[in-house]
Point group: C2
Chain length 452, copies 2
């Protein structure tokens, strides 16, 4: 079923032996670093992507749109316990532009509704301290949901401590727009100390002085394509978000995915210049602040979406070992054949996930019924440890892993572009609702205003 | 040869089943935290130790002395490269009280003399960037030696980057008194980025604004003893340093050792109240800033040192597996017998080290010929990863490991105290010189003014 005429050998060799992306990623990490949506660094990253595309002979286009860009300011957080100490803390994105607050701390476990109901009035006017965990059988809450819950119970603010040891507070969005109360990531160690002191009966306050800034800014998706020859209106899209958080270099999240998509463009431009379907490459803006780039694209191209044959998303894509195709109960034949042919690259036809998930740029397409394809992968070394924290830097990226993701991605895009028939059906509204329901995501989507 | 009449069962059971130290350490970590010599926290730690000793029925005495106490102030370090970024940095102890400096950076490898000789004039007026490593066959240099070398070659300052990933710059003394140039620990990630950019031909400057304070302060060794009944003038001493660096809670370095020594005092006071020799317990002040407490004690008690039967030192003591007795070519019989009896606790008679080492509180005693005994051990989990960095916090300490160190330490002290004859000879000056020479430590000691 694998369409004839695709030279997998050339695609794989080009990905593994002529990879340019690792060095390109180094440049982005070292010369641009963190690139929050709407910042000058964000603009530098757009130029970086556009120049790479031009160097492959592709002409990038830009899809500009306006956002409320949050800019980190100063933060000082001090625990006023028996021995005052400075917390290792990072404001969450969209935290208030000003906060000057001293309040007692209450330990709220995972910060889920039952935790807050147990504390009732003791939450009011206090800092809610919680971890990143989830009670058995519960749906994991996004930090913005924990913040909204804390606010609903009258808390003064949220202190969310990291699950990773080693001075690694995490940032990330805590609200769609300026949050009603401060949301602050603190280190696991500071969280554990606060918890221990509270458990020993000590009364603790935390004092926070914080300033941030929100202003209008223009950001841009960067798009390029290799037009299809037989079915140019049918699109196989590979995307990755270009923006990152500021405390690190945004190497694995998501310089890595951006580098993969750019090298996919190179490999395919050089080895599949006249595909049957159109190959499109997208570097999304403003994913970290609400999937804004991919949502903008989906709105802008709403009429064409039924013609999108597949959307591949690369976000923190580790060394690949299988396919993720939400809504499928088993691996479709084309992908099984690909996984078997690519097993020397680590792909395993039995490694498959068909459960829907949220919170990356496939989401707006998935909800519109576009078939979504991802690679299951493992971030080598300590990549995941530094998620949204300082330490997500270039050295955490595996060059062999990156090359293998490009190789598998290029073969997959080629197969999708060249197949006689579209290998994945567009999903009906009913099927989308079913896959979202099966994955227990209705409530999470309702928070975003999505209704079946 | 193991003296009769020592009830090892009771000592071990008391250490393992009635350990008080883990909870005591939690209190120190959470309620006092980092305790730099001469700070209010340092004084709180002295009180913590004294109160523990009193609670075992021992009467603590204090050995006060004055030091120049270095107090960390503000530090801002910014790399002025293609995209300026703030370095994750910690001043080294005794860095200048004021520094306001912008200078170019040169990559100086390990920062050893050949590295600087290779760079010659390019070091002058620049930041020397180096790692914590050592060239094959070379003696590892202490950070103060790297700083002295950089200063000798006319550098403007030293940027020493950590060998541990994850936003973990390390502090520690960089000079005996106020350093001639700033010494700054930076994260591995920032070090790697600076190196990569320099390697790509970019010219980089680093701007540092720093303020610290040095003032006179009084610190105290805290001492207690169980007087010997037959040979009270002969002393078996167990010591650990009480001071720590400030960015963390000083949990493994060296709250751990302090907790072990305090629990040794408890176990032995409760189970060996009338030892043949005197048992002495010492919580040293100001180890981190030059072994000042143990040096003070060795000077104060110079006339009695020939009667010290042994000095046990506990510094970052992990789960024990063997003995370290500098100057011995093989494990002496008493210790072999102990290791065999305690193999159920993880001790291994074949795990032995007899090579001299420096940089902890055994050093002043070892150089005066007093027999020194240590436990070889492994810090469980990621303990060593956080050496002199944020993240050396309570959770990094293993309670079973702590208990086992107390058990082995108590049995060892009891055997040393009760033996008919002193199991280890006082070392002659000649033997001290030989062990120091064999371990290639003459040059390192010469820096401290020690002459054979």
């Amino acid at each position: 079923m694998l369409p004839e005429g695709i030279d997998l050998d050339r695609l794989v060799a080009s990905a593994l032996l002529r990879n340019e992306s690792y060095e390109r990623l180094r440049w982005l990490c070292d010369n641009v670093g963190g690139r929050v949506a709407g910042s000058p660094a964000g603009e530098a990253a757009e130029q970086w992507a556009a120049e790479a595309l031009r160097s492959f002979g592709l002409e990038p286009t830009f899809e500009p749109f306006e956002i409320d860009a949050w800019e980190r300011g100063d933060l000082e957080a001090v625990a006023l316990g028996p021995a005052p100490w400075r917390l290792c803390a990072l404001a969450h994105g969209n935290s208030p532009q000003r906060a000057s607050l001293t309040a007692e701390v209450v330990d709220a476990g995972h910060g889920e509704r039952p935790d807050l109901e147990r504390l009732t009035e003791r939450v009011r006017g206090r800092w809610v301290l919680c971890d990143e965990g989830v009670a058995p059988g519960h749906r994991p809450l996004h930090r913005s949901e924990k913040l909204a819950l804390a606010a609903e119970f009258g808390a003064a603010g949220l202190l969310l401590y990291s699950s990773a040891p080693g001075n690694l507070p995490r940032t990330g969005m805590c609200a769609e727009r300026e949050a009603p109360i401060p949301g602050i990531g603190i280190s696991q160690e500071d969280g554990a100390r606060l918890k221990r002191l509270l458990a020993s009966g000590v009364t603790l306050s935390v004092k926070v002085e914080m300033s941030n800034r929100i202003r209008r800014a223009t950001v841009r998706n960067v798009i390029a394509e290799i037009p299809g020859t037989e079915r140019p209106e049918e699109v196989v899209l590979a995307g990755a978000h270009l923006d990152s958080w500021d405390p690190s270099q945004g190497a694995t999240d998501n310089g890595l995915g951006s580098a993969i998509v750019l090298d996919l463009a190179r490999v395919l431009a050089q080895n599949l210049p006249t595909p049957r379907r159109t190959l499109r490459f997208a570097l999304w803006a403003a994913e970290e602040v609400g999937l804004l780039g991919s949502k903008h694209h989906a709105r802008l191209h709403a009429a064409e979406l039924p013609n999108y044959a597949a959307v591949l998303n690369f976000d923190m894509t580790g060394t690949p070992h299988g396919y993720w195709i939400p809504g499928e109960s088993e691996l479709p034949p084309l992908f099984r054949q690909l996984a078997e042919r690519l097993d020397g690259l680590g792909m395993d036809p039995d490694s498959f996930d068909g459960k829907a998930g949220l919170h990356s740029d496939h989401q707006p397409f998935m909800l519109e019924g576009v078939p979504v394809v991802g690679l299951l992968g493992r971030l080598e070394g300590q990549g995941g440890h530094y998620y949204h924290a300082v330490g997500d830097t270039f050295e955490k990226v595996s060059k062999p892993g990156l090359c293998r993701a490009v190789a598998v991605g290029a073969c997959t895009m080629a197969a999708l572009a060249e197949s006689e028939r579209r290998p994945l059906e567009h999903r009906t509204r009913e099927r989308v609702v079913r896959m979202v329901t099966d994955a227990d995501l209705l409530e999470a989507l309702a928070v975003e205003g999505w209704r079946p």
